[in-house]
């Protein structure tokens, strides 16, 4: 008999480590106040849960549905997004329902990114973009958001791209740029002018845009979420990705969607039919019902799309205040439910920690063990070149119930007392 020769394929070489696997384990201890992973601990709206309970009792809804998306769900999505985009969206050809927004990112990248292509990724970035691009045999090309106020950042709006630097990243091999707005982790909501700069380059270089807009409804006062696909010349080259988990605070439902022109979506559908094929039926039906309810009240402030962001805005403000009272300078996000903060001002000396990890990784692990508070290190969201710049930041998630934020408050208030 031959010796066992089977190891992993080249396509996943080096993609096995994962910040979530690492930090979720560490923060799993229930005595730790977990502001790390983006996991709402608030309750989803009751009608969403009720719809699912109703649906589970309907026999045929426990069996397979249409592979590319349950008919009532794609119909509901087309209604909502037609209104938002101001254009006709065909539910059967312009939409694909996937297992989470992750599934949409995966289907898009597998469908449209070729081996040897380049894909521009804006740093910091949601961590899965890089391994997904690599798994397709393509090369990630990074460009950082930079703090234009050089150290005195009060707002996510201070973090900007340098247009000349961005233009230099585009070349004939650039297949796509991945855009994330509202942005995780900084919370930046790209302005129309900023989107126009990106759009102009996409059109000039005939590049696709993969627009991750999972936090589209979570924008705070004074800000507006703009879909890059609505800019002239962009609909035909953009895939826009959304998420039920973020829209309805049900991350465990794992339903997402891609919306775009038929001639692009059809390729995502081919990947989908050859991977997962179809998504769970009862969850899709319940989501369709929930969308039906909120679609009817899109002119009403009680619509969940708006009420959730109002609820989160006050949590954002509370989180910011707690961090400021602890002597920190958080970057106030214009959108999303994350907040980053520069912890270098605390001068916590971790040079004796004998690990080759960046400072923020060491800081978070120290904070978990000694302060019982968890967050996520920002260098997890960077390419190799920029890890040094971002290793003084950590990311807090504030979509948490009041008692969680109360517990965080106690820790932060006592922070200085403990170290004194």
């Amino acid at each position: 008999t031959m010796a066992f020769r089977h190891k992993n394929t080249r396509r996943i070489e080096g993609l096995d480590s994962n910040v979530w696997v690492e930090f979720t384990k560490v923060a799993a201890d229930p005595s730790i106040v977990n502001l790390g992973q983006g996991l709402p601990d608030i309750s989803p709206p009751s009608y969403v849960k009720e719809e699912l309970a109703k649906v589970a009792a309907v026999d045929r809804l426990n069996q397979y549905t249409r592979g590319f998306g349950h008919p009532s769900l794609v119909k509901a999505l087309s209604q909502v997004y037609e209104r938002v985009c101001g254009r006709k969206i065909d539910p059967l050809t312009d939409i694909l329902v996937t297992v989470g927004a992750y599934g949409s990112l995966f289907s898009t990248i597998q469908a449209l990114i070729e081996e040897g292509d380049e894909v521009i990724i804006i740093e910091p970035f949601y961590d899965c973009y890089e391994p997904m691009v690599k798994m397709a045999g393509a090369k990630p090309v990074f460009i950082p958001l930079r703090n234009k106020n050089d150290g005195n950042s009060a707002s996510s709006a201070d973090w900007v791209l340098d247009p000349a630097e961005l233009a230099n990243k585009f070349n004939s091999k650039t297949k796509a740029i991945i855009l994330n707005t509202p942005h995780n982790p900084i919370g930046k909501v790209f302005t129309r002018e900023e989107l126009q700069v990106i759009a102009d380059l996409c059109i000039k270089h005939d590049t696709l845009c993969i627009s991750d807009e999972v936090y589209e409804w979570l924008v705070y006062k004074g800000n507006k979420h703009i879909k890059i696909a609505t800019l002239p010349g962009m609909w035909e080259r953009t895939i826009t990705i959304g998420s039920a988990g973020k829209t309805y605070s049900v991350t465990g439902w794992k339903l997402g969607w891609s919306i775009g022109p038929q001639n692009l979506i059809k390729h995502l559908q081919v990947v989908h039919q050859n991977t997962l094929y179809t998504c769970p039926t009862p969850l899709q039906e319940a989501l369709a019902q929930a969308f039906g309810i909120d679609y009817k009240r899109m002119d009403d402030p009680d619509c969940y799309f708006y009420s959730l962001s109002r609820e989160l805005e006050s949590k954002r403000d509370r989180m910011a205040q707690l961090l400021q009272e602890a002597g920190l300078k958080p970057v106030i996000p214009d959108g999303g439910y994350f907040m980053i903060v520069d912890v270098s001002t605390l001068n916590v000396d971790l040079s004796d920690v004998d690990e080759k990890q960046p400072y923020d990784y060491k800081f978070v692990k120290w904070m978990i063990t000694s302060k019982k508070l968890s967050a996520i290190p920002l260098s997890a969201f960077c390419g190799p070149e920029t890890k040094r710049e971002f290793e003084k930041y950590i990311r807090f998630c504030f979509i948490k119930k009041d008692s969680t934020l109360d517990a965080a408050e106690v820790i932060l208030k006592n922070w200085n007392k403990q170290t004194a």
Binding site: M2, R5, L52, N62, Y64, G252, N274, T281
Partner: protein
Amino acid sequence: MLRRVGPSLRHFLLERKNSAGYSSYSGEAKMSRPVQARRLEGIDKNIWVEFVKLAATYSTVNLGQGFPDFPPPDFLKEAFVRALSGENHMLHQYTRAFVIIIEPFFDCYEPMVKMAGGMPVFVPLRPKAPKDGKLMSSADWQLDPAELASKFSERTKAIVLNSPNNPLGKVFSRGELEVIADLCVKHDVLCISDEVYEWLVYDGKEHIRIASLQGMWDRTVIIGSAGKTFSATGWKVGWTVGPNRLLQHLCTVHQNSVYHCATVAQEAVAQGFQRELKLYGKPESYFVQLPKELQQKRDWLIQSLDAVGMKPIIPEGTYFLVADISEFKSDVPDVPDSDEPYDSRFAKWMVKNKGLAAIPLSAFYCGAHKNNYNHFIRFCFAKEEATLKAANDILQKWKREKTNP
């Protein structure tokens, strides 16, 4: 002994110029290249997209796509409701190389292998003539051991095994599995064992897991499905079981593709399994009740088909059976130069004209072999009594029309 390293077939293909004469890596304007990735080449067609639409449009009785039209068991639905209504609202949060494929095969194996840049190598189950006057059994479809052995080479990475087999319903015997296992061990080949129908075996037959054979645990990934186990195909919960040194790589793919599965569905399936664990082997076990119920439905459908002259092959397992429609050929004349296999034209004609949906067997063969067994269609019998009776009515009426036109 180390595996010989040579240029993979995939890289060879990449170096070739495409049909337009452009080199794959030219810096030509992107407008002249297709927008989609090369890995999608040739895998865009899909039998289900086509036939599910047809059934939805025309059929009154759908014995085509494989899903039960009876509900999941009450205990499972209750588990789902319990999982939903519990105080824990956190349940709504965060869960080229060659591959041998045995024909007929569940259709997705081929495009999935191709999408990974692998090369499918097909080996057919061949039917032996049944004893005079008897109906054929799925056991009569067998691999030729010498033919199978000839398909193994140094470049063979894996074999995909599906037992109980969709579409035939074949349950591979211990002897048959040993032949496959011996070759896997001899050639250091992995076994991808699709056992989604593992609980659906009839006539007292035993489902044997190839991973339990000598030398096989370390090289086998076993695949299971809640949809088939608990008659809840719409929940889309499945699993892989195997040694960590193989599973760890599946985890890497998983964390970089979908990452989690729906939490509440997993919780409900877990509760379903807890119940079954307590009742294992007992008559009230769903794993005992379901095959008992399905065997009866199998026998009804066999009787219906036999009575009208369609020749069913008796399946040893799964909830599918395949029937020979040769005697009905007069209804659907042969078209000599047609691209489409005969059984596919027949199945389409049948759903449009008789309202009865089934799937052509050629859907389960590779392109080159689609005409090898083109007078069979597959029926799914995981259906309510009323559905099977309605199918019988259609068949009886059809037969009467043939004898008295």
